[in-house]
Amino acid sequence: MSKLNTSALEDVQTVTPWSRTQMAQRAALDIPDGSYVNLGIGIPEQVAQYIPAGREVIYHTENGLLGMGPPPAEDAVDPELINAGKRPITAIAGAAYFHHADSFAMIRGQHIDICVLGAMQISAKGDLANWSTGAPDAIPAVGGAMDLVAGVKTIFVITQHTTKPGEPKILHQCTYPLTGQAVVKRIFSDLAVIDVTDKGLVVTEMAPGVDLTYLQARTGATLTLQP
């Protein structure tokens, strides 16, 4: 992958990328009332804070709880009530505990409506790579990511549009090992909201100051604007 020469564009445009909080807020708008939702570790976890008032959403954590609530006060921590990121949580009224096979039956049996995950790379066809760079000295670790993308009905991704050095993360084809094939439905980046469709990647919204030329220069796959 080569770095992009975008300096000419930056001279003439004032772009205000969405913050991590704004990305989480934007994704939260697309979670309907009544959804059963699994949130990945990191920015996706923040989505729960921004669900619009009046919507009731139930959170699943794959280590065995449906009805996950916010973190407890420090003096109320139970080391055996944790989320998939191994952080202390609470259980809401109406919550249920279950064992791992039941928990993944919810995921693999398509009972969970939406999963929001982070990404290293996403392809134009919705392939997702988010567990390994394939580096030979890395300790491979996958957790539940492959089950979630294969089983949950709708997969949302929240990600920076490019890597820190500025390389595109949205590509014609992923170069890292895949987590799943053709699984991503919608991408919430710091620059745009993009739907993965049969006709390719369709941009539905852009951050302030971003236009299609600017976005395309930072994307490794062809984008079209929603008509």
């Binding site: 280590n63 065995g64 791992h100 670790a141 957790g143 090992p177």
Partner: protein, 236 residues
């Protein structure tokens, strides 16, 4: 008379042999049977294949068992854990084998093994490196990969309460893999916080029925991994 109570932790793990497969309950520290793991370290069985979601934390519990060079192979979904370089260091040196399994596939392999189902197909991992070399079949318009049921010689798990028949209840998300590991192991050893009279666990509230349990040893105040790690404890 049926009474699955065992007096000591040492006795509960005494017949674990070199080369055995041992399933260890827990997801991170929730449900980790620290005292049984320490008894296994004292016992000293080597070249074990251990099934757990992770590889332990710090230098206690599962990480200590690995550090003590008793584990030849780990079967797990997420071997990278905060506060521990025990597994990564051995793995990079080629001193421990790893079978990486997606978490849901791991759970289902254990459940299937415990239910007498030798193999099954799943959509999880299709098109990824973890499906390489595995049989693929097309069902309902979608590719699926063949995975095999997993059984073990022993399961070491932790419960909140147990009666003398081995009926169990758990604490919150400490349940995780324990009920299915109890099904999949030839001998299931439980450390419980409380042994209770028959009938005091309502039949509607039994999570693991006693038929899946062989031995119960009481550990009234089990240690939590995080407390031991924060105190910089090493075992032994």
């Amino acid at each position: 008379m049926i009474n699955k109570s065992i007096a000591s932790l040492a006795e509960a793990v005494a017949d674990i042999k070199d080369g055995d497969t041992v399933m260890v309950g827990g997801f991170g520290e929730a449900g980790s049977p620290i005292e049984l793991l320490h008894a296994l370290i004292d016992h000293g069985a080597k070249n074990l294949t251990v099934v757990n979601n992770n590889t332990g934390s710090g230098h206690v519990g599962l990480a200590a068992l690995i550090e003590n060079r008793q584990v030849g192979k780990m079967i797990c979904s997420f071997p990278r854990t905060a506060n521990s370089t025990v597994f990564p260091d051995l793995y990079r040196n080629g001193d421990i084998e790893l079978e990486l399994v997606p978490q849901g596939t791991l759970a289902e392999r254990i459940r299937a093994g415990g239910a007498g189902i030798p193999a099954f197909y799943t959509a999880t991992s299709v098109g990824t490196p973890l499906a390489e070399g595995k049989e693929i079949r097309h069902f309902n318009g979608r590719d699926h990969v063949l995975e095999f049921g997993l059984t073990a010689d022993f399961a070491l798990i932790k419960s909140l309460s147990a009666d003398r028949y081995g009926n169990l209840t758990y604490n919150k998300t400490a349940r995780n893999f324990a009920p299915i590991m109890a099904m999949a192991a030839h001998t299931t050893v439980v450390q419980t916080q409380a042994q209770v009279d028959l009938g005091s666990i309502h039949p509607e509230h039994v999570i693991t029925p006693g038929v899946f349990v062989n031995r119960v040893v009481t550990v009234p105040e089990p240690a939590y991994e995080s407390q031991l790690v924060n105190a910089k404890r090493h075992y032994p």
